[in-house]
């Protein structure tokens, strides 16, 4: 990470937690670390919307939402986020899910929403009502598309933060473990870390 003071949090309990995750071989990733130092400014509200958006009841499965995350991140060329959310999507939907999406053999409904938020990510000024009609024609309700658009908000934000501040996985093992923890537990950190 390019901001050294954001590596370990600021309080003793936060530092101990990060060291513990390192010792256990599942080190807290850089998004989690960046959430520790300034929880009221960023960590709490950011993880709050993240967990609500990517977990819990929705018009989309967890796997589909993670796939949307990977699509937005790929469009922004954010390798850090693609590596994590592509991994979760693959675990939920199958190893070849991105390939199936690209080849047009994945769920037409999810593919239509993914194409919309991909275009929205690439250039919001070039998306039109005709694009919305295409998604509707694939059977996507407006509420469901609105949810996908919130995924675009979330990842267009964190992709930029991650790339600007040089977020990276310390090893492939860390990446895979981190993805598995997110898949199982969602986007929450223990409350004592965000005080």
């Amino acid at each position: 990470m390019r901001l050294p003071t954001y590596e370990w949090g600021i309080r003793r309990s936060q530092r101990a937690f990060v060291r513990l995750t390192r010792a256990l071989g599942a080190e807290l990733d850089d998004v989690g670390r960046a959430s520790l130092r300034r929880p009221d400014f960023f960590g709490k509200p950011f993880l709050g919307i993240g967990h609500l958006l990517l977990r819990g009841p929705s018009a989309w499965s967890v796997g589909e939402r993670e796939l949307f995350a990977a699509v937005v991140s790929r469009t922004n060329s954010c390798q850090f986020c693609v590596a994590t959310h592509g991994e979760i999507a693959a675990k939920e939907l199958g190893r070849d899910v991105m390939l199936r999406l690209d080849e047009g053999t994945f769920s037409p409904r999810a593919a239509a929403a993914a194409a919309f938020i991909e275009a929205l990510t690439r250039d919001p000024n070039c998306v039109s009502a005709a694009d919305v009609e295409r998604v509707r024609a694939a059977g996507v309700q407006d509420d469901a598309l609105a949810e996908a658009i919130y995924v675009a908000l979330f990842f267009n934000t964190i992709n930029r933060v991650a790339d600007a501040l040089g977020f990276e996985h310390r090893s492939d093992r860390d990446r895979r473990w981190g993805a598995e923890v997110l898949r199982r537990r969602g986007y929450r950190l223990p409350g004592f870390l965000l005080r």
């Binding site: 009221d40 400014f41 609500l52 407006d142 609105a146």
Partner: protein, 131 residues
């Protein structure tokens, strides 16, 4: 049947869950969208108007892609347009210009959030909705 048929078993499910099952799917999703809107508002308010090392003015400007200092303005422009092209040297140049980690973090998050909110506004407005 209970798991897949959408019917609630009053003997095995707590009342709150039965209530939730009875809600229409549209009602559940609409409620969820309301909560997402609230959470997004909370995030924007925290980043732009909460306590910070930088001024509220500077964060609002970064959110809109502007900065008074030309070095910072160039950096924020890349954050918004091609953040993947930023390097260690770009952040080092901000440190060299006298910005500390908290300042860089706040302005980066504000600029990134501006790019995210722009997409939210465009996407929802095409659905005829307010962000």
């Amino acid at each position: 049947m209970w798991a897949g048929g959408g019917l609630a078993c009053p003997l095995t499910r707590p009342r709150a869950i039965n209530d939730a099952v009875r809600m229409s799917r549209r009602g559940v999703v609409a409620d969820r969208l309301e909560r997402l809107r609230d959470e997004a508002t909370r995030l924007v308010e925290a980043v732009l108007d909460g306590e910070g090392a930088t001024s509220v003015h500077a964060r609002h400007a970064a959110f809109a892609g502007r900065a008074d200092d030309p070095v910072v303005a160039r950096y924020l422009d890349v954050v918004r347009s091609h953040a993947d092209r930023l390097t260690d040297e770009d952040v080092e140049s901000l440190h060299a210009a006298g910005l500390d980690d908290d300042t860089i973090f706040e302005l980066t998050v504000a600029a990134a959030l501006g790019a995210g909110v722009k997409r939210l506004q465009v996407g929802l407005s095409l659905l005829g909705r307010e962000p």
